[in-house]
Symmetry: none
Subunit: 187 residues, 4 copies
């Protein structure tokens, strides 16, 4: 009796394949991606998709949740570097830059980013992780005098949600330059 249940391995793999396919399809068509198309891309029948995600909304939520997880990881890595001595403002800017770029390459992440900070208090563990990391990053920058005292976690989420992710890279970079002065102190 070393494992929970028999035959669950396949189901788990299918779930993964569905999520992967959903990420891919939603990456290109946003949440307009069709359930049948996602199922086909995943190599399963629609019924299987619906067994794993009873509703399209559920599938979208799951895809979002995954991306939020990745955002959280990036935030934590940034924080780790800041703790290690890197300037917090640089880490925060880098985090914003990377997240923005990620969204630019995957429509689904955008929806994910837009969902941050919207729900009630920390409904998702991953969001809580991201918030904690970003929060400490901000505090560190404020302590070092490089981040404005008025800046909050919600502000960062707001910027992530409004990044011009469907514009060319040059535009995205310019946007970042335009927006950073609102975060950092000086000049």
């Amino acid at each position: 009796m070393s494992h929970n249940r028999p035959s669950r391995a396949d189901a788990v793999r299918n779930r993964r394949r569905i999520l992967e396919a959903a990420r891919e399809q939603m990456g290109s068509h946003g949440s307009a991606a069709g359930m049948d198309d996602i199922a086909q891309a995943a190599g399963v029948a629609v019924g299987t998709l619906y067994r794993h995600f009873p509703t399209k909304a559920d599938l979208v939520s799951a895809v979002i949740a995954e991306h939020v997880g990745e955002v959280a990881e990036d935030a934590e890595a940034s924080l780790a570097r800041a703790r290690g001595g890197a300037p917090a403002i640089d880490e925060l800017a880098g985090f914003l830059d990377r997240t923005t770029e990620a969204i630019a390459h995957n429509q689904a992440v955008k929806v994910a980013a837009r969902s941050l900070g919207v729900e009630g208090p920390a409904e998702q563990p991953d969001e809580a992780r991201a918030s904690a990391a970003v929060g400490e990053l901000i505090r560190r920058g404020q302590d070092a005098g490089t981040i404005r005292g008025s800046v909050s976690v919600a502000d960062i989420y707001l910027l992530m949600a409004t990044a011009p992710t469907d514009q060319p890279a040059a535009v995205r970079q310019r946007w970042l330059q335009l927006v950073l002065p609102g975060i950092r102190t000086g000049q």
Copy 2:
């Protein structure tokens, strides 16, 4: 023959009614507004709608164009005040504020705002007007030393396109505060 064939005037009036209806419907439902619904709201048949706008995309473009006209007017009014002595940076900020609020109350304007500066050089006269006015506003602020030298018309369009217009008023205001330091000089 006694029966009236629709005059050019009728056609023109129909075009107007359709655009009005489209603005209204898209104002509330975004571009998800149905063609039939728009036609009905305009008091014409779908066929008539399609005669004036062969494709839904065409109708959306037309609605956008109209809003661009309004943006141009606001920009020109702001410029007029600046010419009259008002601080250019204040006028620019006010312009951004008002445009953002307008978008918040009308989904269609958002699409309009996002289309600015995207096309080839000045395809639309109204966009040219807006660009001219905003451009002079910026120059005046730069001359007065209140607007950063790096700021361009495209930057303003970029901010307009990325404003968090589906968020509550408080969030929209906070966003403006967050973004203004990237435009104005000092602190």
Copy 3:
């Protein structure tokens, strides 16, 4: 300007074809008949079907309404004969017999028959006609002493709704014999 609108003739014919097809399909499969199948049987696309009947329930209602119309006509013809001197009880029995047979050959009529007397007061004109005719038939029989005083229109509807219409003809006839003593006087 001799007619209301142009091109309406085709639409009317389509409506008829759809109703006919619906009667046929529902005749064999009851209200489980699929919308696509009905459309195909009618020689139109689904969209056309939905233009005429926005909901499956609407189509079913329309089919029912038609059958109720036929029931009303039979009832009125029976009444006419009774007025002309035929024994009311015989006419009532014949009416029940014919209606029952009609149902036996068309599942849809059954649903129709079951809907009689269920709704609020005379929602449908045809039902009102049927009720009036059956009512007078009963009264005449009661006056002639051949129909029990306790019998009401609702009783007739109840019998129509409970006839064993999915049974062979012999069974249906036996059922009628079984049920008639509750209506007629004597023995």
Copy 4:
């Protein structure tokens, strides 16, 4: 090997639980009850359900069979009372009344009642029991002169199958009054 292979007893118990769940589910939702729902209510997996009943039709039949058993018991109890001196016609009417009421409270019984007398000769032992009891009840009433000579067991089944069981209690009672004269003698 130490792990238990399911005994015959387990299989029997599963069959019972499935039937119980099916009765319950079909009682409320008729034969529209879903196989998955029934399985879940029974605490088994669908596969198990299908092992016991290879087809939904088989399960429905089994549920029906059970209810036939109950009908048989009621019929036999009625007969016992008639043998003990109670008027056969009253017992027959009571039997009809009770059966009808049972159907009204359980959709599944209806299908059961409708299946009576339809199959080949006495396919089910329970149906044979019911038929024997009802048959003797009728004969006793006929001997006593209270039940019409033409009445047969099939007639009783026919009435049971056609009772207005989805109507309010008052309607069901009226129907019984309407139908009894066809069974009993005298006015």
